[in-house]
């Protein structure tokens, strides 16, 4: 048996590997156990490869709209879906290798296999029971193998996986999850997307841009249910204009399959139903925590709704065992997992840290137009009892947006009228995923409207809209 580690992290996703590197930085002897792929879902089957796909779709979109920019492309613009997928896998592979390098550089031992906690401080790593998702990146060199390991602190960072609805279980052929949707062998002509969260909407946007017939079915009354209603309504209008069919307040009650198509029965709130047939159906109805086969039950670790219960700094109810990231509960976002992991090991080190304020975690959806937000929606702010001031600034009033040919969008800000606290910011339009961080920093530093008003935003940029939206909340916008 190897020497005991100070910290062992189970899971090499964005939460796990960042936690391990931070632990190593703090001087802990650290190991990371991974059963399938360094970088986790995010880097291999989520955030990163989908951005690569969406980038291809975006360029395709601009190329087919070249005339709008005074350009002429001779001949038809076309694509080969296989090449798009190949590029996406390449991006993923490059970053996957990068994670291995970073762990090595920080002297974090990587142990290949599936971990089970036998008791606090002890982990058995065995062969992974889970069949790997293909295509698989190669196992990194120099990893440690199966066996018994000891660690003072064990951090569970096993992430999450797609949720399956009974009767509509993914079959990898006609009913896809994000795994299959990311690596299509042929381009589906038509598609039903079940669920309109970030994952569903991004795939809807990708496939629609490349020409598929897309129908989105959402059980809630609005698409993008966690987003501000006004932003979601704008998004819906834009998507519908692009030709995406959207059915809200309805659910898929059943499916029938043929060899090459699937028919979904869709029932709305009033009980009337319709049948829609498509080449494929993407199930994007959320994710659930990977809490199985870790030994949690025998250790008596408390779980709730498929996630491990923690104190906000990763501590579970069992001393020496921690959980961070998706497996520790929503919001299930890579950046939340990373930060939670850092806080967890810093707390173990005894540094003065505070649990993350979940209202300051931004969320981004990379459809076209992009959506980004942080903090409370208008409805949630009212629900919380705030008297609010709301600022809005449309892309149409921004010089850079017009120059980019992106005049559609909105920057919305919500302030507590009493204290001037920035409660929430919600944006839709070109590049907003790169803008939202400005508001996140502002919220983190606890600025009021005053500091934001006195901040100089560079001209000409889209960021000027962020300034104008704040000004508008106080009746001082210049360009509307």
């Amino acid at each position: 048996m190897a020497d005991a580690y100070d910290i062992m992290v189970i899971g090499g996703g964005p939460g796990g590997y960042v936690t391990a590197i931070r632990a190593a930085q703090l001087g802990f002897k650290t190991a990371l156990v991974e059963r399938e792929h360094l970088g986790g879902i995010c880097l291999n089957w989520g955030c990163i490869p989908t951005k690569a796909l969406l980038r291809s779709a975006e360029i395709f979109h601009y190329a087919t709209h070249a005339a709008d920019y005074g350009l002429k492309l001779d001949g038809a613009m076309s694509f080969n879906i296989g090449d798009i997928v190949k590029r996406s896998r390449g991006v993923s592979g490059q970053l996957n290798g990068g994670v291995g390098f970073l762990l090595k550089k920080n002297k974090v031992d990587v142990i290949w296999g599936e971990a089970k906690i036998t008791k606090p401080g002890e982990i058995v790593v065995g062969k992974s029971a889970k069949p790997a998702v293909e295509p698989q990146h190669p196992v990194p060199k120099g990893v440690l193998g199966e066996g018994n390991y000891k660690a003072k602190h064990i951090i569970i960072a096993t992430g999450a996986r797609p949720r399956a609805l009974p009767g509509i279980e993914p079959d990898k052929k006609l009913i896809w999850t994000y795994f299959e949707a990311m690596v299509p062998d042929t381009m589906p002509k038509s598609l039903i997307v079940m669920g309109s969260g970030a994952i569903g909407i991004e795939f809807a946007s990708f496939y629609r841009t490349l020409g598929a017939d897309v129908t989105v079915v959402e059980v809630m009354p609005q698409i993008l249910p966690v987003e501000d209603a006004e932003i979601a309504a704008i998004a819906r209008k834009r998507f519908e204009k692009q030709g995406i069919k959207i059915i809200t307040g309805a659910k898929v009650t059943g499916v029938t399959k043929t060899a090459s198509s699937i028919t979904a029965t869709i029932q709305d709130e009033k009980g009337s139903s319709q049948a829609i047939t498509a080449d494929r159906l993407i199930s994007a109805v959320g994710v659930i925590g990977n809490i199985e086969n870790l030994g949690l039950e025998s250790l008596g670790i408390k779980t709730e709704r498929g996630c491990i219960v923690t104190d906000g700094l990763g501590k579970t109810n069992v001393s020496g065992i921690y959980a961070i990231g998706d497996v520790a509960g929503p919001p299930m976002l890579a950046h939340k997992a990373e930060h939670e992991g850092v806080l967890c090991v810093e707390a173990i080190k005894g540094l003065p840290v505070h649990a993350m304020d979940k209202l300051k975690i931004p969320g981004c959806t990379y459809c076209h137009p992009q959506i980004a937000s942080v903090g409370l929606t208008e409805a949630k702010a009212k629900e919380a009892g705030y008297t609010i001031k709301v600022g809005r600034f449309p892309f149409m009033g921004n010089g850079k947006a017009i120059a980019l040919g992106e005049p559609d969008g909105l920057v919305k800000t919500i302030f507590d009228a009493k204290s001037g606290k920035l409660l929430g910011a919600h944006m839709i339009g070109a590049e907003v995923t790169e803008l939202i961080q400005g508001y996140v920093v502002a919220m983190g530093l606890e600025t009021t409207e005053e500091e934001l008003m006195h901040t100089v935003f560079p001209h000409p940029t889209l960021s000027e809209m962020m300034h104008e939206s704040v000004l508008d909340a106080y009746g001082r916008a210049i360009h509307v």
């Binding site: 003065p352 505070h354 204290s419 530093l445 606890e446 600025t447």
Partner: protein, 439 residues
Amino acid sequence: MPFNVLMPALSPTMEKGNLAKWLKKEGDKVNSGDILAEIETDKATMEVEAVDEGVLAKIIIPGGTQDVAVNTLIGVIAADGEDVGALSSPSSAAPSVTKTAAAPAVSSAEVTPVSSTQSAVMPQGHSGTKVFASPLAKRLAKDGGLDLSLVKGTGPHGRIVERDVKAALAGGPLSKPAASSTAPTTLPPLTVGMADATIKQLFEPGSYEEVPHDSMRKTIARRLLEAKQTIPHFYLSSDVELDALLVAREEINSSAPKGADGKPVYKLSVNDFVIKALAVALMRVPEANVTWTDRAMLKHKHADIGVAVSIPGGLITPVIRKAETKSLSQISNEMKDLAARARARKLKPDEYQGGTTAVSNLGMFGVKSFSAIVNPPHATILAVGAGEQRPVVKNGALQIAHVMTVTFSTDHRAVDGALGAELLAAFKALIENPVGMLV
């Protein structure tokens, strides 16, 4: 129609004062010029004069009320026989019919920018220490009447953040003082040490009398705590021989012309010479006639000398302005007037605010030497002990001389050691050779 009597502002910076007492009762007839009430601020007592005649129809704020905000409706004057039911509401914009005897009433329009300036410096805790707090924390503290200097920050590098202010406002260990029911106050407690209750527990109940602080006591406590905590003091002492000065004083006083009442028109004290000497010394060492501010040094062109005057219940420091330009007799007479009015608490704020240095003289109590606390915005203060005959050694021989020990307390941010020593030397030279201060 009835007229509102509003709480007057005795100085541009005054936000509230105490309504000490009413000199008229409800129903009393009031003539223009009659004194209606006395207002007490931290340093002075002022009279509120009626500028119109009528009947004091109603007293809204009773005598003895503390911390009455400027422009609060304190009473109503009605025309004789007028129905007082038709009182104007407190928020009415009816012009004040009062003026203060000592200072012109300041209109609310003039007061507003001052108060906004004060809110801008709010994050500076009352103790004057720089407080690191997020903008939101500052605003929440201001709205909640919380002194941030009493809050422990839990943000990065001890920065005070929203959660700290919320915890403090919610009654954390360092919560805001309980607001009194009669006059809500936003003033923080003046001691940062033990809580009042803890202190009181150390004494037998009934073994002491509890005297609430008046405005002056609170001001002294606040300002000197701030000064001692935020100003890096150092001290320079020297023995100064007085024989030549005493001879000069005797000659000048004996040749003083007689006034109409048959008394000499001036009688110089040693302290008058000290004031003058300090003023001239500052002109000779102008680098020491300064005030520290965070961004710049204020180099004063004149020597405005504050002189600590002990008055019942505290002290006040009236200022002899441009003392370097005034003759000893002018300084002497001005000092007598200021001291008399200080004891009667009749000084106007502009007579005791500001100044570039100060003198504190405890010689009359037989104190040999002491060190004073710099009183901002001054950079120095001179503590003067008793003049007495002491043995001195001159040219190897023991002699007797009149000597007093003086000690400069100095703000090291503004005046360094050698510079302070230079000022002390200039002062000593002038006292020991008083002719120098006459030219």
